[in-house]
């Protein structure tokens, strides 16, 4: 329990008064992901944890800002602050109105989304797209913030689906944009290890955590992801996992140590081939290799 209390009383002494932080949570609610297919009730647990976590973020400082997005297999949507007018919420049981608003809006919009979603076939979620939208939202908030104010922005991705190489380019574009905009990307993996997103965390100085036990999701969120990036270095967090930056070759999708790179399109191959499969450039053969194919022909 110590871990939970610590972060919430730390930030005020470090951040100055005109420094606020914006947290955009990307929640993967694609019903097709394996974890939810096996046991759909997990989603309720995840949503509850995320909402509690979001409220904790708002509790740290009254000016803190929050946005929650739902990410599906075909599109991503903002569920808090949702489209249309903000809900009119009165105080219930003495709870802070904003908390009630977050919980109600999120759940309402999410249930609307889930009831309209009918395909559970696609297991892959458009995480890259969701992160790109989050970056757009952050860019807008940065543009419209009052002069002189400082807005620290970060994105937290909570997902149970895997990351596939088909979105590789999109992921990389998002990561480099985030790095340029000084947006930290944190990733909380619920089910599978996500090597691509892990690279993104490393590029943007975020944290990557694969939750060992889903039951304790809230505690992991509060412990690891609640403290702001500047505070994190002072805390004892799980040690960073060494990121594997080896490239996967385009021909067999295997990680390689030494490879050949096409000078025109930078495609990576594990063996020398005379024609680039990506850009169809014909390469100049190095001398010893040029002899080999001829010999083969004669034998055939």
């Amino acid at each position: 329990m110590n871990n939970i209390v610590m972060p919430s009383d730390k930030p005020p002494e470090i951040t100055s008064t005109d420094e606020t932080s914006l947290l955009v949570i990307v929640l993967d609610s694609n019903p097709g992901q394996k974890m939810l297919k096996d046991n759909p009730h997990i989603l309720t647990h995840c949503v509850d944890s995320v909402i509690a976590f979001a409220n904790c973020h708002l509790m740290q400082k009254s000016q803190n800002k929050l946005a929650i997005m739902a990410c599906h297999s075909k599109a991503s949507y903002f569920i808090y602050p949702g489209p249309g007018k903000p809900l009119d919420v009165r105080q219930v049981d003495g709870q802070y109105e904003v908390f009630t608003a977050v919980e109600k809006t999120t759940k309402q919009n999410l249930s609307k989304l889930l009831s309209s979603e009918n395909s559970t076939v696609v297991t892959e979620s458009l995480l890259a797209g969701a992160m790109a939208m989050a970056l757009c939202y952050i860019a807008r908030m940065q543009r419209t913030k009052p002069l002189g104010a400082k807005l620290n922005c970060r994105i937290l991705v909570v997902t149970g689906s895997g990351c596939s190489a088909s979105q590789y380019m999109n992921y990389m574009n998002v990561f480099f944009t985030a790095q340029k905009q000084c947006v930290v990307i944190d990733v909380c993996a619920l089910d599978q290890h996500l090597s691509l997103l892990q690279q993104g965390c490393d590029i943007t100085n975020g944290l990557y955590l694969k939750v060992p036990q889903l039951q304790g999701l809230l505690q992991y969120l509060l412990w690891v992801f609640l403290p702001e990036p500047p505070v994190r270095e002072k805390l004892v967090l799980p040690p960073p996992v060494k990121v594997d930056y080896r490239a996967a070759c385009f021909c067999h999708r295997e990680l390689i140590d030494i490879g050949y790179v096409c000078s025109v399109c930078l495609s990576i191959f594990c063996k020398f081939s005379p024609i680039c499969t990506t850009c169809h450039t014909v390469f100049k053969m190095p001398a010893p290799l040029a002899v080999k194919p001829k010999k083969k022909k004669i034998k055939l």
């Binding site: 939208m133 990389m172 000078s263 081939s273």
Partner: protein, 371 residues
């Protein structure tokens, strides 16, 4: 430049785009909206040009030739031409390596009729910035020699393999050059080697620069003021289309990764990059990147292995260049007619001031606010 609609216009008048006619006051008498509109249009025009899969010279080897002659002390750029240039170069080098991670830069200065190499071709941006920062101490004397500068760059670029894109960027403050021989011969040699030479003039147009740029396929521009200077400099950041004689080949590269031996602590080792540097000595550290071929250790990537000559990169370095090669599709511009209330990406409400909005050509439903 403006289209020649009016034949009566003099040649020197057409150079102006008549920007004052394009600016219109809005209802409250402000010009800002109109100016923002012009900037926006220019941005989109530039973006539209980028489309199409051209062959690009990705592995760039660029020599910056900087005029450090007497004329650079002129104060028409604030505080002086040289200081302004150095400040911009600093940003340029950072941006250059950000966009072209597996490229290399070298710096040459021209002063007192001589060329002097400040730094050799290398891929480490921080080192170059350090060198650039020391340049403000140089004494600005004599005349520059364009030929000597070009020859020095040429002798080094000549040795590079044929798949490398070779470029020279000259920043010229002087209107004269004091050369030992016939510069036309040098230009001919550059042309034959396929080295693209671009020049940014700080004073006025000079024929020999125009000729050099034309012959070697580069660009020649003269700056108007410091912001125009910055624009021109940053045009050089995007990789240029590949020169005709550029050969394509497969390049062997290594992708280093940490070596983990089960159950043992990583040994303390020295890195090869600092092993013989005098300013910062090599320290014993754990971790680092090991060359997969000869196991030399380096503390930074990308680097060329000093022991075996293998180029060491990491996957994101290559990925960083992909957006030049496979650019994202452009949005289509449509007139705003209250089709939607909110911007799909940033959730901003569209208002009266939004005349144009943008639509994703792929999914159609996503309508975006001004980018």
């Amino acid at each position: 430049m403006g289209d020649e609609d009016d034949a009566k216009e003099y040649r020197w008048e057409t150079g102006y785009e008549k920007t004052w006619e394009a600016i219109k006051e809005d209802d409250e008498g402000f010009l800002e909206a109109s100016v923002a509109d012009i900037i926006q249009k220019a941005k989109r025009k530039r973006q539209a040009l980028k489309q199409g899969s051209q062959k690009l010279g990705m592995m760039r080897h660029l020599y910056l030739i900087l005029d450090c002659s007497d004329s650079m002390s002129s104060q028409d750029l604030k505080p002086t031409r040289l200081l302004c240039t150095l400040k911009l170069l600093e940003i340029f080098i950072e941006e250059f390596f950000d966009q072209n991670p597996i490229s290399q830069i070298g710096i040459i200065i021209m002063h007192n009729k001589r060329a002097e190499k400040i730094s050799d071709l290398a891929g480490n941006g921080r080192k170059h910035i350090k060198y650039v920062n020391t340049l403000n101490q140089t004494s600005l004397i004599g005349e520059p020699s364009l030929q000597n500068g070009l020859e020095m760059a040429l002798s080094s670029l000549k040795l590079l393999p044929s798949h490398a894109s070779r470029e020279i960027l000259v920043i010229m403050g002087s209107l004269t050059t004091c050369d030992p021989g016939d510069i036309n011969v040098t230009i001919e040699n550059l042309k034959q080697e396929g080295i693209r030479c671009s020049i940014i003039g700080l004073a006025a147009e000079v024929h020999v620069c125009r000729y050099l740029a034309k012959e070697t396929g580069g660009t020649y521009n003269v700056i108007l003021d410091d912001s125009h200077f910055k624009d021109l400099l940053f045009e050089q950041v995007d990789p240029p289309p590949a020169a005709g004689c550029l050969e394509s080949s497969l390049i062997k590269m290594g992708f280093p990764h940490q070596i983990n031996v089960e159950g043992s602590e990583e040994p303390l080792t020295m890195c090869m990059c600092h092993v013989d540097s005098t300013s910062e000595g090599s320290k014993l550290t754990t971790g680092g990147y090991y060359c997969p071929q000869c196991f030399s250790k380096y503390c930074e990537l990308p680097v060329e292995c000093r022991a075996c000559g293998l180029t060491l990169v990491s996957a994101p370095h290559l990925a960083r260049s992909y957006h030049h090669l496979f650019p994202a599709a452009n949005y289509t511009e449509i007139n705003f007619d209250k089709q939607v209330a909110l911007c799909f990406a940033c959730q901003r409400q569209f208002g009266e001031s939004d005349k144009q909005i943008y639509e994703c050509p792929k999914c159609k439903k996503n309508i975006l606010h001004r980018l």
